[in-house]
């Protein structure tokens, strides 16, 4: 998604659900990234964030009066690794939301999911997959990540379309939207690929050790000592990648259960727009919630007895829960990390 989603663009359940996904992803990444970060320090991550931020300022027109901008997710992932990259992207989006009013605060979860999570993961795993079939040289990371970057943007656009089909505030023909979004974002993706290639080739030329995605491909070095004897030394290695293990499973499960549960709960109630639409008599716009008949459907009404108020409350509670869950996971992560060290 080449532009940031503002407040009120998606309905509350979607915002809440993506918020939860984002919170879970950030919490999990915090835990996984801790080791990476202790080695390289927050300075490098911060710098990558600043760079991604700068890259996102480069707007270019993609037709229909709309401009897209680069995302930088694939680039960040190649440089600092996927988990730190998720944090980097989230930080960028948070700053943009807070300081630059770019992307709404309640849409932060959506933005992180689309521009942080999707681009980073698609970019990174595509890069790694391509590296497997390419010559075992550090240089291979440039074409691999370029392809990763190229693909990651339209995929994010597709994800946006998918989200819109679930929680768009207004019905528009999905096929049309998908075509338009993907079409535009292939153009953005090309820009993304160019930037990624330029930056990565400079880094590979001068500091191959900095490219996280290709660290395992570095050649051994030959050193000469005072008497002219040479010895072979392996270059910097990433600190042993922590096995994903149970923590990943637990993190994802918690996220999914909470996200799923809450969004079921929330989407059982017509959101504000649909409610108003019903009142005004143009119900056509309002979709039937797929879970209207589920046991959860009546849940919200019990305590409060007023659909409207409980709908609003669901939104607010959802966001609050997002924050609490995110913080709890983060806390847990830092506790575990400090125990591990």
């Amino acid at each position: 998604m080449g532009v940031h989603v503002p407040d009120g663009f998606f309905n509350a359940p979607t915002s809440v659900a993506t918020g939860l996904i984002a919170a879970g992803a950030v919490g999990f990444s915090l835990q996984r990234a801790n080791r990476e970060l202790r080695e390289t320090g927050p300075a490098l991550a911060g710098l990558t964030a600043a760079f991604v931020f700068a890259v996102q300022m480069v707007n270019f027109p993609v037709g229909a009066g709309t401009s897209g901008h680069l995302l930088g997710g694939a680039l960040a992932a190649a440089l600092v690794g996927p988990w730190t990259a998720v944090l980097v992207m989230s930080t960028v989006l948070l700053v943009q939301g807070l300081l630059f009013a770019d992307g709404g605060l309640t849409a932060l979860g959506t933005n992180i999911t689309l521009m942080g999570l999707v681009t980073v993961l698609v970019g990174y795993f595509l890069t790694r997959a391509l590296l497997k079939v390419m010559p075992r040289r550090v240089g291979s990371v440039v074409p691999a990540a370029t392809v990763g970057a190229l693909v990651s943007v339209p995929v994010a656009a597709l994800a946006f379309t998918g989200l819109y089909s679930i929680g768009g505030a207004v019905d528009i023909p999905l096929a049309k939207l998908a075509t338009a979004m993907v079409g535009w974002h292939i153009l953005v993706g090309i820009g993304e690929a160019v930037i990624t290639a330029t930056v990565l080739s400079a880094v590979v030329a001068t500091r191959p050790d900095l490219v996280y995605a290709a660290r395992h491909l570095q050649q051994d070095l030959v050193l000469v000592d005072a008497d002219g004897n040479s010895s072979t030394v392996s270059p910097d290695r990433p600190i042993g990648a922590q096995p994903a293990g149970r923590s990943l499973g637990v993190g994802i499960a918690v996220t999914l259960v909470v996200a799923g549960g809450l969004s079921l709960f929330a989407s059982a109630h017509p959101d504000g727009l649909e409610f108003v639409g019903g009142k005004l008599g143009f119900d056509g716009a309002a979709k039937d919630s797929a879970v209207a008949g589920s046991p959860l459907a009546d849940y919200g009404v019990h305590g409060i007895g007023n659909t409207q108020v409980s709908g609003a409350l669901a939104g607010i509670i959802g966001v609050l829960v997002t924050i609490v869950v995110g913080l709890a996971i983060a806390k847990l992560a830092s506790l575990r990390a400090s125990k591990a060290s």
């Binding site: 900095l210 070095l221 050193l223 030394v233 270059p235 910097d236």
Partner: protein, 245 residues
């Protein structure tokens, strides 16, 4: 032995010992590996920092291992050659306070320490400015203050006097002479080395090529010219007093 990540080897076997309280100058031409060497002394470069290379460093009986890194870095204060590498906080005051605050100092104790260090380098009037809005020489002084404020046992200075005005240069020499620390100072200013350090190490091409009394090294014309060292215009190392007097 040490090679930079791009594969260039910068150190080819270096071996020396500095006694507690000694003051040693590290001399040598551009690109000799002086900076690279001192960055090993507190584990910034080298295998202990996850880099490439081999060798051992011992500070005050403690070997430089990953588990002692924190302790060693508290003992060894390093002033970088480029002040922009050293200054990273929003204001001069915060920057000088950073190290002592990490050591656990708080409130008035911290303020005193910061103020004292700033007065030592004459920058107390600039405490609330942003470091990157200072002149180059002013940045250099603040960089020195950040390390003085930590009261290290071993002080390593990478060309501390460059870009300083002559009075500041002399004031720095006075400060350094008055400190009770082990001192290792890189400099291209040979009279300055002679004035402050009794002993000198001479590096070239990633190796130590000479080690001895500063005065003797400076007086050895062959050694000097082989290592691109020259005494300034109208200066005779044997005719002026050194620190031993």
């Amino acid at each position: 032995m040490f090679a930079y990540p791009d594969g260039r080897q910068a150190l080819f076997g270096v071996d020396f010992t500095v006694e507690r309280g000694e003051r040693v100058a590290l001399l040598g031409p551009n690109g000799a590996g002086k900076t690279t060497l001192v960055l090993h002394l507190n584990g910034i470069l080298g295998s202990v920092a996850g880099g490439t290379g081999s060798g051992r460093v011992q500070i005050g009986g403690t070997g430089l291992h990953r588990e002692h890194l924190g302790e060693i870095r508290r003992k060894v204060g390093l002033v970088f050659q480029d002040p922009d590498d050293q200054l990273f906080m929003p204001t001069v005051r915060d920057d000088v306070a950073f190290g002592p605050a990490n050591l656990g100092l708080r409130a008035s104790e911290l303020d005193d320490r910061v103020h004292e260090a700033l007065v030592q380098v004459g920058m107390q009037d600039h405490a609330d400015l942003a470091p990157h809005h200072l002149s180059f020489g002013q940045r250099r002084r603040v960089a020195v203050a950040t390390v003085l404020a930590m009261r290290p046992e071993v002080l390593v200075l990478d060309e501390p006097s460059s870009n300083l005005d002559p009075a500041a240069r002399r004031e720095l020499a006075d400060i350094l002479a008055g400190l009770d620390v082990t001192l290792l100072m890189i400099t291209h200013d040979l009279p300055y080395a002679l004035q402050l350090c009794e002993r000198s190490l001479l590096m070239n091409g990633g190796r130590i090529v000479a080690d001895g009394k500063t005065r003797d090294l400076l007086a050895d014309a062959d050694l000097m010219s082989a290592n691109r060292l020259e005494l300034p215009y109208a200066f005779n190392p044997l005719s002026v007093p050194g620190p031993e007097h």
